[in-house]
């Protein structure tokens, strides 16, 4: 059995309105080609998502031309999909470092940003739901 010594522990973030806790990682989303074009956003860890997905307005806020990215369909469990455009961004967390990912940005508004398995590829992630905590270790 594998044993993992995680490097970073993150308490779940509480929804300010409902008080419900969620496994959210606040991180900086940055345009790798335009220093200073960045913002901080919450993203939900979602091991069921093949690929990360962010709200399309974020691409615009980073100075990216949303519709210039390659199109990709994201399909939900109900078979209903949405269209996203792929853009290379840098995801930065001061305690975890940064990764560059080609992230999907939705062309219609979405209510949550998702960190999917493409992000999980960079980190070993463990959930301890009972203690409302998750753990991360950067893959070497």
């Amino acid at each position: 059995m594998a044993t993992v010594q995680y490097a970073y522990e993150v308490a779940y973030t509480y929804d300010p309105l409902t008080g419900d806790p969620f496994p959210i990682l606040p991180l900086q989303v940055a345009n790798p080609h335009a220093p200073g074009q960045a913002l901080d956003a919450n993203a939900y860890l979602d091991s069921g998502a093949q690929r990360s997905l962010f709200d399309g307005w974020i691409a615009t806020a980073l100075g990216l031309d949303l519709l210039s990215g390659r199109e990709l369909r994201y399909v939900s469990l109900a078979g209903i999909g949405l269209t996203a455009r792929l853009h290379q961004v840098r995801l930065i967390h001061p305690n975890l470092g940064s990764v560059e990912l080609e992230v999907g940005f939705s062309t219609t508004p979405i209510s949550r940003n998702l960190l999917g398995r493409d992000f999980f590829n960079f980190f070993q992630i463990g959930f301890h739901e009972r203690y409302l905590t998750f753990y991360l270790l950067r893959n070497s």
């Binding site: 010594q5 995680y6 490097a7 970073y8 522990e9 993150v10 308490a11 779940y12 973030t13 509480y14 929804d15 300010p16 309105l17 409902t18 008080g19 419900d20 806790p21 969620f22 606040p26 991180l27 900086q28 200073g36 960045a38 913002l39 901080d40 956003a41 919450n42 939900y44 979602d46 069921g48 998502a49 997905l53 709200d55 307005w57 974020i58 615009t60 806020a61 994201y74 939900s76 469990l77 949405l82 967390h93 001061p94 305690n95 209510s111 949550r112 998702l114 739901e129 009972r130 203690y131 409302l132 905590t133 753990y135």
Partner: protein, 107 residues
């Protein structure tokens, strides 16, 4: 904490999950020199501001420290306003309204 989260139920769950979660984020080998958790101050502060944020339900907010710097319905406008106020990297949060009879799934 809301009781609506459908955690597994057993004899110990109520005791371990019910109290407000106040543990600090940390590196697992934390010592006094460890950096502060990212945006921890804002998230903890928001957690205590339910009445204040209720008035902004459905809106986007930029929060810096213990202050809502800008808010509104258009996230681009809210970010722009925060940048105009000198916030170089705005931390933007959507105060999404969810019904009590809803639970969230990924997509």
């Amino acid at each position: 904490m809301s009781a609506s989260m459908p955690h597994m139920q057993d004899d110990q769950t109520a005791a371990t999950v019910q109290p407000p979660r106040i543990r600090q984020e940390r590196t697992t080998d934390q010592d006094e020199q460890s950096p502060l958790p990212y945006r921890h101050r804002e998230r903890e502060w928001l957690r205590t501001q339910k009445e204040a944020v209720q008035k902004l339900a459905g809106q986007w907010i930029v929060v810096e420290g213990e202050e809502i710097v800008s808010h509104g319905d258009d996230p681009l406008q809210v970010v722009s306003e925060a940048r105009e106020k000198g916030i170089q990297i705005p931390y933007i949060i959507h105060l999404a309204v969810t019904r009590k009879d809803e639970v969230l799934i990924g997509l």
